[in-house]
Amino acid sequence: VSIRVLGAGLLTTLQDGGRHGYAAIGVGAAGAMDDVARRLANIIVGDAEDSATLELTLRGPRLSFAADALIAITGADVEAHCGDSIVPTWRPVLLRAGAELTLVGMRHGVCAYLAVAGGIGLESVLGSRSTDVNARLGPIPHPLAVGDVLPASAAPASLCPDLWRKLRADSRDFSAFPSWSLDPTPWFDGSGAKPIHAIAGAHFDALDSASQRALFGASFRVGVDSNRVGFRLQNVALSLREPLELISEGTAPGTIQLPAGGTPIALMAEAPPTGGYPRIAHVIAVDQPRLAQRRPGDTVRFAQTDLADAQMRYLAREQAIAQLSASVRERLLHPY
């Protein structure tokens, strides 16, 4: 049972819940840019949330499936085909053996996720299957290339046998899917109109007053040289009252640093665990996936919030995901 890469896409990587426990020796977490979409893809196919999925960036890959596979696509609004049929997203889809899945461009957003029931059967490296592109870590230490083969689980049907039986009976050509799907609205903001919430960082007060107002008011533009490590926030130059010389300290995903040039950088999934630039703000955890879905050239505005509000939103999100996971599981186990 395997998945063969026929077309690589722009930047397709394997991502799970991230590599944790090695930051003290300079190893970052990596993991998904939109980790909520990644978890939901796993939930939809009945996998553990930490299972590895494919992260597709702006233009997806072309994949062939050697055996029947139950898949789900979430995240950015991606156009997916199997033969002449459109493959719907945010729901389980059974692909029959021999199916060729073509993921074209993203209509909105940047990162889409493809989960395959049973997961990708590769050994973890330092506790994770995530690809760290810059550190060249992971069972596949590089973005997917044509000819790569991903081993899929040998017995994925056992997870929800009734659903498999029903979809196999339903399938006329290469794919079949149930009538239900998840509503992406709470999880994906295709318009990109909502502000991104952030908490002031330790060096926010070191910004001059115009820059303090601009940070939580002006419209930034995501730079074209943004990547999995960081997003450059262009269009509005920020400045400190006076230069700060700092020694390297820990950073976190979401930290907004301000290098001397005045263009802030928001640290993303693949950021290293330490850095030496002033920390002017931190994007809150629940809004990091939203920021990750902004494209180069898109505008971004930041709205200020505080720690208690950020953590309440985090708790509420986790509760909502847990509830959703339970109801999806019911549907997977009882498809009739």
């Binding site: 020694i247 300290e249 809150i284």
Partner: protein, 235 residues
């Protein structure tokens, strides 16, 4: 030791600051505190990241968010952290780690900036090598890339500013000087430090346990070797 300041690093991490300078005694205290925190196995804490004068703790808010809204997550976690660190300091000092010796082939094709360092220091190249290899170093922190050690203890005569035009590619194993520090590139990377030599040792190998050759707080010495010896050490 001064009071430990605490700072939010977003909503899933905090920073404990022990000071704001690069100082060996302060750094040793940081590593002792990090070891104590690691040993305490704090619930919901998945990363403990010591740096020069601070420790970052990455935590799950679900584990530390309480029902009493008046007490913030941070202050709750801060209180417990202080207890652990103070309790630790009453017991024994941090366990000394074995010193490690790193063979280096200085100069030539492996150390293209040795001449520049010598020129700025007004020393001849052999004197630069002798001084670099004579000092006792310790690992202040690992960062920038997996396994990259920032070493304290460089002879002040050898302090050299970073290159104005960083190199696009610095070879794995390159031993370099950046300001008051010396370090070793674990893999091929872009970099702006002055390259003075190369070691054949693998600074980082994900298949090894532990994957990093050096640990935070560890003592390090360099030994000058010839290019022939460099070639014979298996990579």
């Amino acid at each position: 030791m001064n009071e430990i300041q605490v700072e939010s690093l977003g909503d899933c991490a905090l920073l404990l600051r022990f000071g704001t300078c690069i100082d060996p005694a302060l750094n040793a205290h940081v590593h002792a505190a990090a070891a104590a925190l690691r040993a305490a196995g704090l619930h919901g804490v998945r990363e403990i990241v010591p740096a020069y004068a601070s420790i970052a703790l990455h935590y799950d808010p679900r584990a530390w968010f309480g029902t009493d809204a008046a007490v913030s997550t941070i202050s709750r976690l801060h209180k417990q952290v202080i207890e652990i660190i103070e309790h630790r300091s009453l017991r024994k000092p941090a366990q000394a780690q074995a010193e490690i010796e790193i063979p280096v082939c200085y100069g030539g094709e492996f150390g293209p900036d040795l001449g520049h360092v010598a020129q700025l220091a007004k020393l001849d190249e052999n004197e630069v090598i002798a001084r670099h290899a004579a000092a006792d170093y310790h690992v202040a922190m690992l960062g920038f890339a997996p396994g990259f050690p920032y070493l304290l203890g460089l002879d002040p005569a050898l302090h050299t500013p970073r290159r104005a035009d960083p190199r696009v590619r610095v070879a794995a194993g390159s031993v370099a000087i950046g300001g008051a520090q010396t370090g070793i590139y674990p893999c091929e990377l872009p970099g702006g430090w002055q390259i003075i030599g190369r070691t054949p040792l693998a600074l980082f190998d994900a298949t090894r346990d532990p994957p990093a050759l050096l640990a935070p707080g560890q003592r390090v010495r360099f030994r000058a070797v010839g290019a022939d010896e460099l070639a014979f050490v298996p990579r």
